[in-house]
Subunit: 363 residues, 2 copies
């Protein structure tokens, strides 16, 4: 049943009482803590707030790694949303995913109203085995909640020499090109490919013009957003982030092309998996719910089956040519730099956030 109203992700930021110390981050003094310590803290939070020990381990690691890589919008920023969603009863933190070997190169996963990451993990070894033996393999997941960054889902395949592509639909907040009402989710696409002399090439892009969290940040900071980002409650284009948030909606990136890609994500991640469309679920009975109950599609390819002698070397050639043409930063580079710094010096976390996390873990 399509929802009659636009549903937005409600991305709460943590409230900071401690504003006595400030650094270059707007959100107060930052401290650095070891990745293991942050992960353990997050695992405790998940367990305390309604997940199994296993789900807590998978999600805790996922969120800690996003924070480690400087992907702030999917790091500890998301914890209140996870806690709130678990408390609402909308998601099952104890779900046991069901993996079905549907065909030699096709795996179906019923996440059973649990999080996508543990359901994906349950099928990962089989997916890799199938990709290597068949040349390409697909994972079609439904009834899953994806509330995280998408790049962590594909990067591990590239680390094993495989090429991976994934699609997730989310919740109606993007107006199709030429339409008047939000229907698509921010519907991201992520891709990962190995290269010979460096970290994998990995990108993760929303098919909306802006991520919803970035609109909220612009509103908070009193900035206009670029033309083409969204519409107001009357469907008129606006650069005012408050007008987008107050009954308006986002637009696809790149006009009709981004809209076509977003439609493709609905077809692949929902229609093909058996999951809900972004407009096809209602959490009205679960106040506090924030994660979309939809689907995800993952395609993994073994490039060694191709005629190209050495995919990773060819990818390296492309990177060299891109550098020569003046593109300094490859997709993923910023994350890798942050990662190295976090592993060397600890993961940066606002002191006030850390205090709040400790409360959530122990209080």
């Amino acid at each position: 049943m399509p929802q009659s109203e636009v549903s937005y992700p409600r991305l709460h930021v943590m409230q900071h009482n401690d504003t006595s110390h400030t650094d270059h981050h707007a959100c107060g003094a930052r401290v650095r803590i070891p990745l293991d310590e942050l992960t353990a803290l997050l695992v405790r939070i998940f367990e305390r707030h309604g997940t199994s020990a296993h789900v807590a381990r998978v999600l805790g690691r996922n969120v800690a790694n996003a924070q480690r890589d400087g992907a702030d919008s999917h790091g500890i920023f998301r914890i209140p949303g996870y806690v709130s969603t678990l408390a609402s009863g909308w998601v099952d933190g104890h779900a046991q995913p069901q993996v079905t070997d549907s065909a030699p190169a096709f795996i179906s996963v019923d996440a059973r109203n649990g999080y996508a990451q543990p359901a994906h993990e349950a099928a990962q070894a089989l997916l890799i085995e199938k990709a290597r033996s068949q040349g390409i393999a697909l994972l079609a997941m439904h009834d899953s909640h994806h509330f995280a960054a998408l790049w962590p889902d594909v990067e591990p395949y590239a680390e094993q020499g495989l090429v991976a592509l994934t699609f997730v639909n989310s919740m109606a907040c993007v107006v199709p090109h030429g339409g008047r009402r939000a229907l698509f989710g921010t519907n991201p696409i992520a891709f990962a490919a190995p290269r010979e002399n460096g970290y994998p090439l990995v990108f993760d892009l929303a098919t909306s013009a802006m991520a919803h969290g970035d609109i909220q940040i612009a509103a908070r900071e009193g900035r206009q957003v670029p033309p083409g980002s969204g519409v107001d409650r009357n469907g008129e284009p606006t650069c005012d982030p408050n007008a987008i948030l107050d009954g308006g909606a986002l637009l696809p990136f790149g006009g009709h092309k981004g809209s076509a890609l977003s439609m493709m994500v609905e077809l692949l991640a929902a229609a093909l998996t058996g999951g809900n469309f972004s407009f096809g679920f209602s959490w009205a009975q679960h106040p506090g719910a924030q994660s979309p109950r939809t689907g995800q599609l993952l395609i993994v390819i073994d490039p060694s089956k191709g005629a190209g002698a050495n995919f990773a070397r060819r990818a390296e050639d492309l990177v060299r040519a891109l550098h020569d043409a003046g593109q300094e930063r490859m997709p993923g580079d910023r994350r890798y730099r942050q990662r190295e710094e976090s592993l060397a010096k600890g993961v940066p976390v606002a002191a006030a956030d850390l205090a709040r996390l400790r409360e959530l873990a122990n209080g």
Copy 2:
């Protein structure tokens, strides 16, 4: 070896001597001829200008169908480019593609410097068989020339209830986001999915902001192009189509996101297949050559393996929701409308172009 200079597709338009009759089309009086007659005419042209009878049949049908569907930039508009390329010796019109069954779900095709369409056709039945038995299958083609629209490559799979996705790289004419020099091709992506009560959902989009032919048409008509379409010879953004054509280059659509997708197309269509990158070939020894010698990747999925009971019905649900949200035209709709009109009344062709085609076929 990367080329040191930007190479552009040189899309010649036919010269019209007959300007005495004009209708709403700028290019002179239009006549309508039956599709079969147009196809036969084009097949004769291909055969006369250097292809085998089989290649002529495949390409003649491809070009006639593009004209039938109103895809003017890939209809008979392309014939001079085909003829010129064949005359240059750059492409082999008699190539015998070599199909290798690399793995249960992976086919490699060496087009052996011939056109992509006959090479694709040679592997199509095997690809469908693999997709149906394995759930997903991949075709990796290299050493191929793709000079046509991309949607005809995927639409037939959707007509058989399958979902298809394809990527082709082309020739360096697009500057990567943040770069200074053209490196990517226009690198299109095409997608097709069946629906229950209508023609398949099919899109075919260049990852460049504009197609190169559209820049040429804007220049001819004295129009500016939208901001973000291209840069001049100094790498500065410009809305002047002549500055883009005169030593400048195109930009990706949608900024860094389109650029990331274009990079993905290079990795999938070239690195993974063993084909050339868009910057990785030189036709300097073949004046008149216009078609890129690169690669193509095709992924075909059998949606009946998924948990979704009926993919085509779900796709229909999505179309209904899109209509309800105000998106009137689905991807492909304009082509289907033109197609129906062409099949009922004949395919529209400018009278002067038809005369020129007859000269090429017989002269």
